[in-house]
């Protein structure tokens, strides 16, 4: 499903200096896998996810998603592809503060070409019930705990029934108990829907939740563990 061939990514920082975030990376991810990518801060994990989703372009090499170079598509096709195929769970609080839980979950339907309406709303409510937030449908993000917010984000990521779930340090701001609850949720979703999951974390303790582990350091893969 995902194929990276000799991919490098360099960011230019304030003019002259540049940072090599991903270095000559090659990897494959098959459909239905639950891949955990670990590594210290600055090891290039987040950049890797951005490259896979076509949110940024590779400085060299080739990134394919289902055989398509996403970042080469026109804005319209690229956006539609992300909207239909990819679900995102971010490291930072990514809920829109002015929208309720249900409205946040409905957000991806706003950008797609599917018919919207009651069915979307029913699905949003169902997803929020699945992540255990049936009593927080009308709550605003500021009225939710960190763990609850991340559950809403997961529900939002599943809204358009994606084939690929990209999660960037989804548990970094959470306490240990909540961290394991969220990871269990990912495992359940993967088991139930068969969605391909690419989850980035700096915590080695969470490696057991996936079906495969990749370790990164200095923008390159150091260890592949099937």
């Amino acid at each position: 499903m995902i194929s990276l061939q000799n991919v490098s990514k360099t960011y230019s920082v304030r003019g002259d200096s540049s940072v090599l975030a991903v270095r000559n990376l090659t990897m494959q991810v098959e459909k239905g896998e639950f891949v955990i990518i670990t590594g210290r801060s600055g090891s290039g994990k987040t950049t890797l996810l951005s490259l896979v989703a076509g949110l940024t372009w590779p400085t060299s090499g080739q990134v394919l998603l289902d055989g398509i170079e996403v970042w080469r598509l026109a804005d319209k096709e690229q956006s539609l592809l992300r909207n239909k195929k990819i679900g995102f769970v971010f490291q930072f609080p990514s809920l829109l503060p002015t929208l309720t839980s249900v409205e946040n979950v409905l957000l991806p339907t706003m950008f797609g070409d599917k018919v919207k309406g009651d069915r979307s709303r029913d699905r949003a409510v169902m997803l929020l019930e699945q992540v255990g937030l049936n009593d927080k449908l009308r709550s605003y993000p500021r009225q939710l705990s960190g763990g609850q917010q991340q559950r809403v984000v997961i529900a939002r990521a599943l809204m358009n029934e994606p084939q690929l779930l990209l999660a960037d340090e989804p548990t970094s701001d959470l306490d240990e108990l909540t961290e394991h609850e969220i990871m269990a949720l990912f495992r359940n979703i993967h088991a139930l829907t068969g969605v391909t999951v690419l989850l980035v974390t700096h915590s080695n303790d969470l490696a057991g939740y996936g079906t495969r582990l990749i370790r990164m350091a200095g923008g390159a893969i150091t260890d592949l563990d099937d």
């Binding site: 950049t47 951005s50 989703a53 949110l55 940024t56 804005d75 319209k76 956006s79 539609l80 992300r82 909207n83 239909k84 990819i86 995102f88 971010f90 930072f92 990514s94 829109l96 503060p97 002015t98 929208l99 409205e103 409905l106 957000l107 991806p108 339907t109 706003m110 950008f111 797609g112 919207k116 939002r156 358009n160």
Partner: protein, 397 residues
């Protein structure tokens, strides 16, 4: 969920920032509509006053030109006299098709024999008149009889009385004329016969005698033939009849027109400065807003929002604020100007007429459209910049 709803929530989310944009838009639209209303109102008022005068030339005694203008425009009474033989002399000149004399008087100030102080009184000759009767008959079926009068829109019979007292003489106020925004609104019209009757009885009824020198008039209104040139006739009057000044009505109110023009210039200058400042402020506020929401925009892009959608969400938010602010500004300014009409006339020393509803709607629409374009221009740069940003970069700190 729709982009408009998202924009509404975003606008409501940060009330301080939204209020800033709202006030700027209100200021922009309010200023435009106020300036337009005052300047157009002054212009319309002058035009209407000239139409009411109806004559091509007004002949008055030499040296009273300015005072006649302030009488017609601001209602400050003028007293001037010339021999009534001039009426016939003017009528005999080539190019003149109609002449009619008028007498200008005024009520006394602070005297109990006059209901209203310093009212400009215009007495006309119903036998020859061609200027007043046409619009008098719009309000009255017949002309005015002895002891009857018609007043401008500001003339009223004091509470508890049923007649208007002028030099102790009881006048029957038959009607009030539509407002013109000029001195005509504070004028009283009656026939020469009534004027002479008031003067005759003032010795007995009033604290002071109303003096009309025998065989005199205050002015002669002249109508020029279709094939004659007004300017040439005026020159002829000046050359043939000594001691009088012919005023061409289309050249009247020159000072006032210049005043309106200079008002227009300073208003435009002030308008440009205000608009530039308001637009700069909106641009800064939106740059901050967009910067603060960089991550949010990045998230939206990651969830499948197109560049255009991100741009749309920012623009719609700005438009909503501009629309509500603009409407509020227009509403408050229009209300204020309609309420303070009298004060505007007094302070700015220009006549003023509030426009009819349809014209007002048109002007408001124009002002709103201008405010919307101004706000769009101000937010375009930050909005386009954020929509073009690499989403992965937007989401990084």
């Amino acid at each position: 969920m729709h982009v408009i709803r998202l924009a509404i929530r975003n606008a409501a989310g940060n009330s301080f920032r939204s209020w800033m944009v709202f006030f700027c838009a209100a200021l922009m639209a309010g200023f435009v509509i106020s300036a337009t209303l005052v300047i157009r109102g002054a212009d319309d008022s002058l035009r209407l006053a000239l139409e009411r005068l109806g004559a091509d030339i007004i002949v008055i005694p030499e040296g009273h030109e300015r005072r006649l203008e302030s009488a017609l425009l601001m209602g400050i009474p003028v007293h001037c006299w010339m021999p009534d033989i001039i009426v016939d002399e003017v009528a005999a000149l080539p190019g003149v098709v109609a002449v009619s004399p008028q007498i200008y008087l005024s009520t006394l100030r602070g005297a109990i024999c006059c209901s209203l102080p310093e009212l400009f009184l215009i007495a006309y000759d119903p036998a020859t008149d061609f200027t007043i009767r046409p619009w008098l008959e719009l309000n009255l079926d017949a002309g005015l009889a002895l002891g009857e009068t018609v007043g401008g829109s500001f003339v009223y019979v004091p509470a508890g009385e049923d007649k208007l007292l002028v030099y102790g003489y009881e006048l029957d106020l038959k009607a009030n004329l539509e407002p013109t925004g000029t001195g005509l609104d504070q004028s009283l019209f009656f026939t020469l016969e009534t004027a002479y009757d008031i003067a005759r009885l003032s010795d007995e009824y009033a604290v002071k005698v109303m003096d009309i020198p025998p065989r005199t008039v205050s002015s002669v209104l002249v109508k020029v033939g279709r094939d004659a040139d007004v300017h040439q006739v005026a020159q002829l009057i000046e050359a043939e009849i000594p001691g009088v000044t012919p005023l061409e009505t289309n050249k009247l109110f020159k000072d006032q027109r210049e005043q309106i023009l200079s008002l227009l210039h300073s208003v435009v200058a002030l308008l440009v400065i205000t608009w530039l400042l308001a637009m700069a402020l909106i641009a800064v506020v939106f740059s901050l807003a967009v910067n603060e929401r960089r991550r949010q925009m990045g998230v939206m892009r990651a969830l499948g929002a197109r560049r255009g959608t991100v741009l749309q969400s920012v623009l719609i938010e700005a438009w909503l604020l501009a629309l509500s602010g603009g409407l509020a500004g227009i509403g408050v300014s229009t209300l204020a100007i309609s309420l303070f009409q009298r004060a505007i006339i007094a302070v700015m020393n220009v006549p003023f007429l509030f426009p009819p509803p349809l014209r007002l709607a048109g002007l408001s629409f124009g002002a709103l459209a201008m405010a919307l374009s101004g706000v769009t221009l101000a937010v375009l740069v930050p909005a386009v910049r954020i929509s073009l940003q690499d989403p992965a970069m937007s989401m990084r700190e």
